[in-house]
């Protein structure tokens, strides 16, 4: 297996080259521009057989992807932030029509005020759109997840976005354990579709008006498809780890086995949190980390059972829901724990909005506060902010 020094964007573009999709329709946007640019170069250099559609907006990009997927093609695109927001309408159409495709998404904050740096508000803003959502801690994970996402999406007949953190990961170089082109092709296999607009002699209608008498049934079937995604992610992850020795599930447990307090994080912050956990352990605090990888579908049963022995939880959210009830991960995890016989104490820390850095010392402080909450049973602030000026 070759090792290459690649940035997050390069790693995702490289995965796309090896996947060699039938169609890529894309529009560049910071910090995901490079993914599109590098892939366009692969097309120009004849390194892929892909039909590259250079469009005038992200709305058009996803529209073209939807058409190509309905025609039976293996389809990919890439975007970030406002670009994903401009795709918003089409996100629901892709998932409602049950069209497999993969977006390489680079997490960036949503304007206004305008900002090009990382937070998760773009991805989180589309969490109810019926897309499978996979977050990545680093470039290796993003590379691996993009390849797995093709299989997951095509097996589930649901679109999937794989995200990594803008600039922090997208522009940061890392040694990537690559699969060979043949290995990737073997792993993803041939794209099979139950129908295709190009099927000769079998005309059908896609996207027809669906009113009070059928719409609800179609949505119910879509929810069921989402429920079926978890076992697919599990089996695809298992097969992937057989080849690469890199295991992927719904989340990663880090020093969680004997822990009594737990931090929850997703994306690049999980790496920082691991350093902080070590430091907390050195101080005699039994802290662990649950790094969430799959946000949609939300693997609530599995998370709850992994947190069985935990007395106090701090959820680190790199976005806010604006509900005033905290960030999206906090809200969903609290809800997931409702039926649990024991309820751990829970606090939420919003951090890193607009690319504000987070350091190990910040997370160590969170861990110490959490230890105190566990000891005293008292929560002073349910929702707090890391690194914001008062």
């Amino acid at each position: 297996m070759p090792i290459k020094a690649l940035t997050g964007n390069e790693a995702m573009a490289e995965a796309m080259r090896q996947i060699n999709p039938d169609v890529v329709a894309a529009y560049p946007i910071t910090p995901a521009t490079e993914v599109v640019q590098l892939f366009a170069q692969f097309v120009a250099d004849g390194k892929v057989d892909t039909e590259f559609v250079a469009v005038e907006s992200e709305h058009s990009a996803l529209s073209a992807c939807i058409g190509a997927a309905a025609a039976g093609g293996r389809v990919m695109t890439s975007t970030a932030s406002q670009g994903l927001a401009l795709m918003h309408e089409m996100l629901y159409i892709a998932s409602g029509l049950r069209l497999p495709m993969v977006i390489c998404e680079v997490n960036r904050s949503m304007s206004a005020p305008i900002n090009i740096h990382c937070d998760h508000s773009d991805t989180m803003g589309s969490r109810e759109s019926g897309w499978i959502q996979i977050f990545s801690e680093d470039s290796q994970e993003a590379y691996d997840s993009v390849i797995q996402a093709i299989r997951i999406s095509e097996q589930a007949f649901l679109p999937c976005m794989v995200s990594l953190d803008g600039f922090i990961i997208s522009h940061c170089m890392q040694g990537i354990n690559e699969l060979t082109d043949t290995e990737v092709q073997e792993f993803i296999g041939e794209h099979k579709t139950p129908y295709s607009l190009l099927m000769d002699g079998h005309p059908f209608t896609i996207g027809a008006l669906d009113l009070q008498d059928y719409f609800f049934e179609h949505k119910r079937a879509q929810i069921e498809a989402m429920e079926n995604v978890l076992p697919i992610i599990k089996s695809v992850g298992k097969e992937f780890s057989k080849r690469t020795k890199r295991g992927y599930g719904f989340f990663e447990e880090y020093m969680l086995g004997d822990a009594d307090i737990c931090l929850i994080a997703l994306g690049s912050c999980a790496g920082t949190a691991k350093v902080a956990i070590q430091e907390l352990r050195d101080k005699g605090i039994k802290a662990g980390l649950l790094k969430l990888r799959v946000m949609r579908p939300f693997p609530y049963k599995e998370i709850v059972s992994a947190l069985f022995n935990i007395k106090a939880i701090a959820v680190l959210d790199r976005s806010t829901s604006m509900s005033t009830m905290g960030g999206p991960v906090f809200i969903e995890l609290r809800s997931a724990l409702y039926d649990n016989p024991v309820h751990p104490l829970m606090v939420n820390y919003i951090y890193g909005l607009g690319g504000r850095d987070i350091f190990p010392r910040d997370i160590v402080e969170v861990g110490q506060k959490l230890e105190n909450i566990k000891r005293t049973g008292k929560i002073e602030k349910m929702i707090d902010y890391i690194g914001v000026r008062e």
């Binding site: 029509l97 027809a208 059928y214 609800f216 179609h218």
Partner: protein, 93 residues
Amino acid sequence: MTKPGWRDLAIGAILEKGGTALEFKTGDWRTYKPIWSQEKCTSCLFCFIYCPDFCIEIEDGKMIGINYDYCKGCGICKEICPKQAIEMILERR
């Protein structure tokens, strides 16, 4: 007729045949109905070009009537007709 449950529907709400819009008759949406006067009409076919629902029927280059199965009664044909050959009347059912 009992309708199928959610498990029995084709994936992605597809319909396993083409041209299904033909079966969806939109004529009953109408409040006002266009009435065409053959005497006044010069078959300029402006109405044919402008009708959003392809409801102007023509034969050998001449207008021969309006298809009320699909005409939604928008009145565009009446507005566009240079000969006042179309009049809109309240639909009575």
